[in-house]
């Protein structure tokens, strides 16, 4: 039973280990690009970095690391201007996600359960379908008002 999932676990562990190792090796630079070096280092990684010209050419200031703004002067974007429509979609989805999970055990035994549970499930499904109909009728799903 559990042995069926060992391979999935191995895939996950191998992949995450490989990615972490990859990103610790690959050059990823931050303030090194514009801050002056203050000391001479004889550590192996530092020597490799100097040899590979990794921090060259140095840039003048920290504008190198500002958020991308298509050439404008960047400002920090405060994420409090989110359109209200996304919340409506999210609420509808939350309703249905729980619904789906409850329906899978019914579908697993569909043939043996027979006719009456089928009708009951249809009534159960009709309630969220009515919610979607209501959201469209009251124009909550209209983005351009």
């Amino acid at each position: 039973m559990l042995s069926d999932y060992i391979a999935v676990g191995f895939v996950l562990i191998l992949l995450i280990a490989a990615m972490v190792a990859l990103f610790s090796i690959l050059p990823s630079l931050g303030p090194v690009r514009y801050e002056k070096r203050k000391h001479i280092s004889f550590k192996f990684t530092d020597i490799v970095k100097r040899l590979a010209y990794e921090s060259e050419p140095p840039v003048k200031d920290s504008s190198y690391l500002e958020p991308y703004e298509s050439g404008e002067i960047a400002k920090k974007y405060k994420g409090n201007f989110i359109s209200i429509q996304y919340y409506v979609v999210l609420l509808l989805f939350l309703l249905f996600d729980i619904d789906m999970l409850l329906l899978f055990p019914w579908a697993f035994n569909f043939k043996t359960l027979g006719f009456y549970p089928f009708i009951e499930t249809l009534i159960f499904l009709a309630m969220p379908v009515f919610v979607v109909y209501y959201a469209f009728k009251e124009k909550y799903m209209e983005w351009l008002k």
Binding site: A7, L15, M19, V20, F23, S28, V89, F96, M100, K111
Partner: protein, 346 residues
């Protein structure tokens, strides 16, 4: 015999525990390499196919017919520095691309791939509730996109992440109801109707013929999940610079790029497993993997043709498409599948 059993026999002199460990380790590595090669081949094929559609030649300098172009691109991406912007939230910014890629690969490892000549059954995991687990794992990739968009503190990235999450969750519901219809039909034929392998083995007549509406809805949902052109408002180049991956560069961007093509390939595999008969075919020569690959390549070509020939649609029209049309169609498909199973015994 299967791939696991053959590997187990090779290392059987080591005793039970070491043998089991080595078997699963080596098979996982083989599987990861195969999946990576398949994704690289998909990207190469896409670049050649796009060039042909747009009356160009495509990559033809590196290697014969440009076959080594993708390796050159991967080396270039690795050599580039990845710029870490100043305003980022550090941990989620670094985790996001790994999460997208890991979700994709774990979803690949849950699929059954049929049998292949003398190797036998090429499957490394066999879950009893594979369908639920597969769609649960597929829900990891939007989390990575969301983390990427929010943690980079850029307005393009945030807008792109909001759009792509709205896209993903409004097409999740029709997709799941279509899958529910398949489980309903499979429950009449097999006692374990939540295992992917046994669902595929019941497809003497493929479910795509029995449920054409379900195939239609599921195919559109998989296109939306892979987020390419008719539904790529999450990273629309002309308005948002490149969506949630705006602030990423180097190999971190490369992982998002690979994740997109990988989800096209994964969606094609899932469609050909659930709706086109999977690894079932006319002859019993252990050709299951070949049949599956042929069906998958056909679905991939159709997907690329859709990608290259459709304009992008607006986000509100898109969300309305999901909730207004595809959702009622999928519910109707579920009712139809229930009546067919109960009364006609199909």
């Amino acid at each position: 015999m299967s791939l696991l059993a053959r590997t187990y026999n090779i290392f059987s002199f080591l005793g039970y525990y070491a043998d089991t460990f080595l078997t699963y380790l080596i098979d996982s590595i083989i599987f990861l390499l195969a999946a990576a090669i398949a994704i690289i081949l998909t990207i190469y094929f896409f670049r050649k196919y796009m060039a042909r559609v747009q009356l160009r030649i495509g990559p033809n300098r590196v290697g014969k017919f440009g076959t080594l172009q993708l390796i050159a691109d991967a080396l270039k991406l690795m050599g580039k520095e990845s710029i870490l912007p100043k305003e980022r939230d550090d941990f989620p910014y670094k985790v996001a691309p790994i999460l997208v890629f890991a979700g994709l690969m774990v979803a690949f490892s849950l699929l059954p791939f049929g049998s292949f000549f003398w190797v036998g059954n090429v499957v490394i995991s066999n879950s009893e509730v594979g369908i639920i687990l597969l769609f649960a794992v597929l829900a990891i990739m939007p989390i990575g996109e969301m983390l990427a968009g929010i943690s980079s503190h850029n307005k393009y990235a945030l807008t792109g992440a909001l759009r792509s999450v709205a896209k993903d969750i409004s097409f999740e519901v029709p997709m799941m109801i279509s899958v529910l219809a398949i489980v309903v039909m499979a429950s009449a034929r097999t006692p374990s109707s939540l295992t992917i392998g046994s669902v595929v083995s019941t497809e003497i007549l493929p479910y795509g013929i029995l449920q054409p509406l379900g195939l239609f809805v599921f195919y559109i949902a998989m296109i939306a999940r892979a987020s390419y052109t008719p539904f790529d408002m999450g990273e629309s180049e002309s308005e948002l610079v490149s969506g949630y991956s705006t602030e990423y560069s180097g190999m971190r961007f490369g992982l998002f790029y690979v994740g997109m093509f990988g989800s096209i390939l994964l969606g094609s595999f899932i469609i050909s497993l659930f709706y086109l008969g999977g690894y079932n075919g006319p002859y019993e020569w252990n050709l299951g993997l070949i049949y599956l690959l042929i069906k998958t390549v056909i679905v991939v070509v159709i997907s690329f043709t859709v990608w290259l020939s459709m304009p992008r649609i607006r986000i509100d029209k898109f969300v309305n498409l999901g909730w207004k049309y595809l959702f009622p169609i999928s519910v109707f498909n579920l009712v139809l599948a229930g009546f067919l199973t109960l009364y006609l015994g199909w």
